[in-house]
Every structure is written in structure tokens, then in C-alpha cells.
Homo-oligomer: 279 residues x 2
């Protein structure tokens, strides 16, 4: 895999990519669990035209290390603030590697005419108070068809980067991140556990049935973008023997912080490893 | 409050009430959080004809100590194995006191003709594969009408026992424990947080609306006794600004152990205190 950028930040400070080209002060190989968290190395890459970012403990190898795929939400991108914060927590709290990609039509990627139309029309529909869920589902399903093979190609490249020994792979992505993640987890047996949610349309049910790994699924009870019935139906359809639904009051963007903690604990139980053992 | 029995068991051993009339070996006042858990004192009482049990760290006072009300399930009683295990965890892991009562028609209490009829008929209906939820709801709603004032009288007595300074009060009860707990939490402002679940009937919606405290609510996705729609409606109706729904696959009796851990963490965040600080 060819990396287009590479820098290391002291993760115990705020994450400020511009200010710290190489400061690994916080990284102590083989440190005890309570030691300072490791510094984080962030590397950009482009694979077959898809820009992505890989985070890992500074100076560490990908070999046998748990890896979390971070799928961003609609309108976001691979370096959106939520994604970057989550990636840093993966590395510094749990000793995982993390990777994100720009979804089709997002971030640095070219927008097709259809992407442009979507971005314009969704604003108009929302402003007019029109129901958008079926329309969003149709558009994002088309994005997912393009995104699934892209994620699988990135997994292939990272597997090579890890000398053929990828650690357990988790997926974390809500909303658009789940529209893409559900068919990805259905298609790729390397994914061992997933956090999904804020999504639910009949078109996702068939892929959900083919998901067999443990899933934590988030619903916002008053989600203005996702009909509750549709979200419950997707959870119900998941083929996983182990699946757990967490629902909380509030709208699409109001997922409580404790659910983000919970989804990390969920992944930790399935993927293993904790910060402090990162050498 | 007049206690009818009193014994202390070393909680680090298995709980065997008969074998240890007074062994407080495990109790170290003012011990650090990692020290042995406190011994547990269990005292029986009868209040206005209602038999109950109070658990607390040996040698401790109720004053300002978090108290968890444990509501048992249908067909169980104040000293059912699940209740006793939960009570011991409350004391040894979190430093709480815990109390349970025999619900009307349960445990040591006299059964009315109606109670007898219920116990006979539910077996017949289940054996015949007949739907029972409306019928169970009607009967248990009648039990709850009797049980709510009983719990409130016990809270009054425990408040006196605590010299007027009860600590924060939590409620934990599923199934019948929720049929009683929901109207109790709606009626008594001393209850500060509650774990409910495995219940859901239209007759509970009105009381649920009047509940205002944080709630964690458990649903079993394939519950053979509780229709999923009814359970979701009761969760939706809860008036609480903070409420969180956890749903898992499986039947009425298959609540995963990790949910019991989760409900304790939930109560800990609301009630405070941890084992080790019990002097």
C-alpha cells in the first residue's frame, strides 16, 4: 500500500495534525496499562482512486492487531471530526488500528451528477418538510454498491501490509456508515463484529439477514430521518445469534456519549486488546 | 421496623444462609476498593402482613446509603435465587442496601381464590398454546394495585430506620417486577432511577407516562409472554428524559448476563457508591 502522507501526534494532547509532524513523546513500548497512551501515527493513502486514512500506535505493526473500519455518516468524510476522534480513541484507549475511507461522492472524491443532485435535493426536501427516507434509502443503496468493493480492496491491501496476518476486524458506522457496513459485513467474512444503527429501510433487510457476526445496533427513538419501524425491522432481520439493540430518545444526531463508550466496550469484548500493550 | 430474623454471611463464600449465623470475616471497615467484599447481613421482616428481606453490608447503617428495591418476577418470591444473587451483588460490589418483598399471592403470602385461579389457569393456557398476554396483564395489574402501597409503606419504615435520611433509591424489577415497579415509580418520588423490562401492555402506558426518572428498559426480542409491540409502546410512553432500551434475541427467561451487569452500571451512575467504601 502506498501512503501519501504520514505523521505522528502525541495523542495525550489535542489532536492537531498541522502542529506535530513527528512527536512520539507519549509512546512507551511495552508500557504498563496505566502508562501514557501511545502516540498516534496517521497515514493517508489512495487505493484505486479512493482516498483513505490509517491510524495506528506509533512505531507499531498491523500484524495481528485488531483493526476497526470506521464508516462515516452522510455528508461527512474520512477526516470528519467524529471520525478522527473515534480513530484516536481506538488507538489510544484500546491499542487498535483504525481506517476510514471517503464514501463515494464524499470528501475529496469527485461527485457524479447523481451525487450533486442528491446533495441539492435533500436540502430542498428537508426544507419543505417532505418525507425523505425512501429517497435517501434509494440513493445511499446505490452508494453502498460502489463502496463495498472499495472497502474489500482496502482490506486486501491492509492484509498485505500486515504480512498476511490481519488481526480481528471490527466495523463501526452509523447512518450512511451502516448502509454501507451491513452489506459489507454480509459479504466479507474478515469482519468479526460490527456496530450499526441510525438506519432502517426494507431494502436493507436482505443483506441484514446474511450478517452472522455479533452486532450492537443503535436506534434514536425520535429519529427524524429514519422511521422507527424500519430500524426495528433491520435489527430484527440481522442473522446474528448475538445482537443487541440500544435505543435512546432524541433525533438522528443526538446519540448519547455513553452509547459510543458502550460500542467500544462491545468491540473490545469481540476484538480484544487494550491500550498500554501496543509495542 | 421489627426484624424477624438476622444473620450475616461472609459474602466471599457462596451464599448459604443456614451455615453461617454470624461470620463477618470478609468485612473490613474503611477498606480500599480492591479489598475483600463486605460480609452481608440479611434481615427478615413483616410489615402489615407483608414479608420482606433487607440486605446491607454487615455492621453498616442505612443512613444515606443507596437502596435498591428488588421486585421479583411472577411465580418467584422475596428469596428466589435470582433475587438473592442480585441482592448480594448490590451489597458486595456496590455497597448498596437492597430490599425485596413477597408480591401479593407469592412466597409466604396467602393466596386469594383469584390468585389460585390464576396459578391454575396460566398453566392450562400455556399448555394449550393460547395467547395469555392480555389475561396476564389484567391479573398482574390487580396485583400491582395491592403491591404499590405495600412498597411505599416499606419505604416509610426504612426511612425511619435510616433516621429520616434514606440514600438515593433505585428500583430493579423485570416482568411482574415491572408491572408493580412502573406505577410505584410513577407514585413515589423517592425512587430516583429504575430498571424495568419484559413487560408491555396498553394498561401500563398511563403509569409509564408519569414516570420521570432515568430508566433502563429490557426487551427480549422473541419474548413468548410479552408482545414486542406492547413492550416498545411502554418504553416509548415513559415520561423520562433519560431512558434507554436494550433488546436482545431470545425468550422471556433468556436475558443475557451482560444486561444484568449493564443494569447495575446504570444504577451505579444514578445512585453512586461502590463496594469497599461501606463502613
Amino acid at each position: 500500500m502506498h501512503f501519501t502522507s504520514d505523521f505522528t501526534s502525541d495523542s495525550s494532547a489535542d489532536f492537531t495534525p498541522d502542529s506535530s509532524a513527528d512527536s512520539s513523546a507519549g509512546f512507551t513500548p511495552g508500557a504498563a496499562p496505566d502508562a501514557s497512551p501511545p502516540a498516534v501515527t496517521q497515514r493517508g493513502f489512495v487505493l484505486d482512486g479512493v482516498p483513505g486514512v490509517l491510524w495506528q500506535p506509533a512505531g507499531s505493526s498491523l500484524r495481528a492487531r485488531p483493526l476497526v473500519l470506521l464508516g462515516h455518516g452522510g455528508g461527512q468524510h474520512k477526516l470528519g471530526p467524529g471520525v478522527v476522534e473515534r480513530a484516536h480513541r481506538c488507538v489510544t484507549r484500546y491499542g487498535w488500528a483504525a481506517v476510514s475511507l471517503d464514501a463515494p461522492g464524499h470528501g475529496e472524491r469527485e461527485r457524479t451528477a447523481q451525487d450533486e443532485r442528491f446533495a441539492t435535493e435533500i436540502g430542498q426536501l428537508l426544507a419543505a418538510g417532505r418525507p425523505i427516507s425512501a429517497w435517501v434509502a434509494r440513493h445511499t443503496a446505490a452508494l453502498a454498491e460502489r463502496a463495498v468493493p472499495e472497502w474489500r480492496a482496502v482490506l486486501d491491501a491492509l492484509e498485505e501490509e500486515a504480512d498476511g496476518e490481519l488481526g480481528p476486524v471490527g466495523y463501526w458506522g452509523l447512518s450512511l456508515g451502516s448502509v454501507i457496513g451491513i452489506p459489507l459485513a454480509a459479504a466479507d467474512s474478515r469482519i468479526a463484529a460490527a456496530v450499526f444503527g441510525l438506519t432502517g429501510h426494507a431494502s436493507q433487510v436482505e443483506a441484514a439477514r446474511r450478517v452472522g457476526v455479533p452486532v450492537e445496533f443503535l436506534i434514536q427513538w425520535d429519529d427524524e430521518l429514519v422511521p422507527r419501524e424500519g430500524a426495528l425491522a433491520v435489527f430484527g432481520a440481522l442473522g446474528s445469534a448475538e445482537k443487541t439493540l440500544h435505543a435512546n430518545p432524541g433525533g438522528h444526531l443526538a446519540v448519547p456519549d455513553f452509547e459510543l463508550d458502550s460500542s467500544e466496550s462491545f468491540l473490545l469484548r469481540r476484538l480484544g486488546r487494550k491500550a498500554g500493550a501496543d509495542g
